[in-house]
């Protein structure tokens, strides 16, 4: 079959549009001019050195990591509970309840952010890292459930019954059989929640008190043109970190698939 040349051009254009800006990030991070424009004027690592001296930046990174890790753990725990319940048991109004939990996935974030802000202020709860975590858990749990639900559904439910039948308790059957088998799903869920929380802006912007997260801090710095190369340098580090993280996750996922002999359904990469 002869393939149309136009489709090839479309695919290339698509990829260029998608990734060219990302490639520019490290390029300008090592450029020794404050203006972001070609031609490049020279090589420098000064912007990276500057990163090390900005204390507010360090605080925001620590804030973001703290929030992202807490969110990932909480959302994944809730995800495990909900996914197991919905994949194993039938209960009244199951579809309605599950649908309700999944709504934040499609609800505009600004609505969640404003609504939460109003409620928190009415309740007299001070804004802090924990209010951001609350918002992020709300946002991430549906993603976590979606990932874990497919992991639980892919597992033969007889496995847990077999362990129970062989004398284990419900809890130990879950721990010994189900947990190891849905572990790739749990790792995926942790990573996705972590990533969503780490770069989430709107909810963080509304609910963070005087402890900004990294995206909120970055946004505040973009008003100063001379800081842009530093932001580029920071972006480069984040890019490298997420690549390493995703590669590691994919490595563990494939190893898990190979070990249990399951059919590789592709995962997220």
């Amino acid at each position: 079959m002869k393939r149309s040349g136009w489709l090839g051009i479309y695919a290339v254009a698509y990829l260029v549009f998608l990734y060219a800006p990302v490639v520019l990030l490290p390029l300008f991070a090592f450029n020794d001019a404050t203006i972001i424009a070609f031609p490049l004027s020279g090589f420098t690592t000064e912007w990276f050195a500057q990163l090390a001296t900005i204390e507010a930046l360090h605080d925001s990174v620590i804030n973001s990591l703290y929030i992202a890790v807490s969110t990932a753990i909480l959302a994944t725990c809730f995800g495990v509970f909900a996914a197991r319940a919905s994949s194993r048991y039938d209960f009244p109004a199951k579809r309605g309840i599950m649908g309700f939990i999944m709504i934040p996935m499609v609800l505009p974030e600004i609505i969640i952010a404003v609504a939460l802000l109003v409620v928190l202020l009415q309740l007299g709860i001070a804004l802090s890292a924990w209010t951001v975590i609350l918002g992020h858990v709300l946002l991430c749990t549906p993603f976590s459930i979606a990932i874990l639900n497919s992991a639980f559904l892919a597992m033969d439910r007889s496995l847990e019954e077999a362990a129970y039948d062989l004398g284990e308790t419900r809890w130990s059957a879950f721990r010994l059989i189900t947990l190891p088998l849905v572990m790739p799903g749990i790792v995926s869920s942790l990573l996705i929640s972590f990533t969503i929380s780490l770069d989430e802006f709107i909810i963080a912007f509304f609910l963070t008190g005087n402890e900004p997260t990294l995206p909120v801090y970055l946004w505040s710095q973009l008003r100063f043109p001379q800081k842009i190369p530093v932001v580029m340098a920071l972006g480069t580090i984040l890019l490298a970190a997420s690549l390493i993280l995703l590669t590691t996750a994919e490595y563990f996922r494939r190893r898990g698939v190979a070990r249990t002999g399951a059919k590789d359904t592709g995962g997220f990469l």
Binding site: L159, L166, T260
Partner: protein, 362 residues
């Protein structure tokens, strides 16, 4: 029969909209190979899971070894199950799978290894301990599942369609092997199957289930020869049904007028389903009738007809024959013995039959 090992007393399971079990009563003896046979949705798996403790009956009682099982969860019942999917733990080795149930028994490592080795030996997988369980073939997985259940030394082994995932050759081989294994270990086996042939081959007794009830509980021979209803007869093998009418009844003899074949004399035993109606049907199995070739003779009764369809199976030939005066064609099976010709479609045929092979449904 000694005291029954399992007593089912009007066991009911109501799922709200559907009644999966509508009062099942049966007694199963120790050491028996018992089958629950029926089409899908007849409640056989629900009954098995109720005995295992995975389902709570909404009515009636299940007693195992004289002990009421109400409130006894699956992990403390003297039963173990071989699942339809085998449920082999994919992240554990063969040895870890088989020894899984021993974890809580407080055995030493060497004792555990010895028992696992023995169990694997028993199912013909000696030395497979270290194999990865996901690399096993279907037949091997089934053996591991068996070893894993039998190592627990249950009073009852429950098997949920254990052979349905295997191909035909392997399935036939496993049927014989399972039966041998059951005799060897002497444990009561309860098998769920929708395959009537499998049930006939393996079981001491079979309960045929329809719509959440046991339609007939009998030995394989009684079930095949004396089915109590047309539905059971149709489910177990092939049977021809011919309209008939009961014309006279004296003591334990019945005179029945069979459409096209004339009056026959049947004993009350040939009407295992009972009933008193005049309108009826007689059933006759394909292999109990004989096609007479080249002027062969028989002492029994002979009816003429014409061959409508011929299906050649190699060892057997199945004929659909329209007997003169009989409304629907009857199926007859003949062994292809040396020298016996296979008739062509449209040929005239003479069929010998015997009233003693008939079953009356009224």
């Amino acid at each position: 029969m000694s005291a029954p090992l399992i007593e089912l007393e009007t066991v009911e399971k109501d799922y709200g909209e559907v009644l999966a079990l509508a009062g099942v009563s049966a007694e199963i003896a120790a050491g028996e190979f018992f089958s629950l046979l029926g089409p899908s949705g007849c409640g056989k798996t629900t009954l098995l899971r109720t005995i295992a403790g995975f389902e709570d009956p909404t009515g009636g009682r299940v007693r195992i070894d004289g002990r009421d099982m109400e409130g006894v969860p699956a992990n403390s019942r003297p039963t173990n199950m071989v699942f339809q999917s085998y449920a082999i733990f994919p992240h554990l080795s063969v040895g870890q799978n088989v020894g899984f149930g021993l974890r809580r028994k407080g055995l030493t490592k060497t004792e555990m290894a010895r028992q696992v080795g023995e169990a694997l030996e028993m199912v013909g997988l000696g030395g497979y301990e270290a194999r990865a369980s996901h690399a096993l073939s279907g037949g091997q997985r089934q053996r591991v599942a068996l070893a894993r259940a039998l190592i627990m030394k249950p009073k009852v082994l429950l098997l949920d369609e254990p052979l349905s995932a295997l191909d035909k050759k392997l399935r036939e081989q496993m049927q014989v092997e399972l039966r041998k294994l059951q005799r060897q270990v002497g444990i009561t086996f309860i098998l769920v199957t929708h395959d009537q042939e499998e049930a006939l081959i393996m079981s001491d007794r079979i309960a045929v289930m329809f719509d959440g009830q046991i339609a007939q509980l009998d030995s394989p021979q009684a079930l095949y020869r004396r089915p109590v209803s047309r539905r059971v007869a149709e489910f177990i093998g092939v049977m021809n049904f011919i309209e008939a009418e009961v014309t006279a009844e004296t003591g334990d003899r019945l005179t029945v007028d069979v459409a096209g074949l004339g009056a026959v004399d049947l004993s009350a035993e040939q009407c295992p389903g009972g009933g008193g109606g005049r309108g009826a049907a007689v059933g006759i199995r394909p292999e109990t009738m004989t096609l007479l070739i080249d002027g062969e003779t028989r002492s029994g009764r002979i009816t003429e007809g014409s061959v409508e369809e011929v299906v050649y199976y190699g060892d057997m030939t199945y004929y659909d024959i329209r007997l003169d005066g009989v409304p629907a064609p009857v199926t007859i099976s003949m062994r292809n013995l040396p020298g016996r010709a296979v008739l062509e479609r449209g040929a005239r045929a003479r069929v010998a039959w015997d009233a003693s092979a008939m079953v009356l449904f009224r």
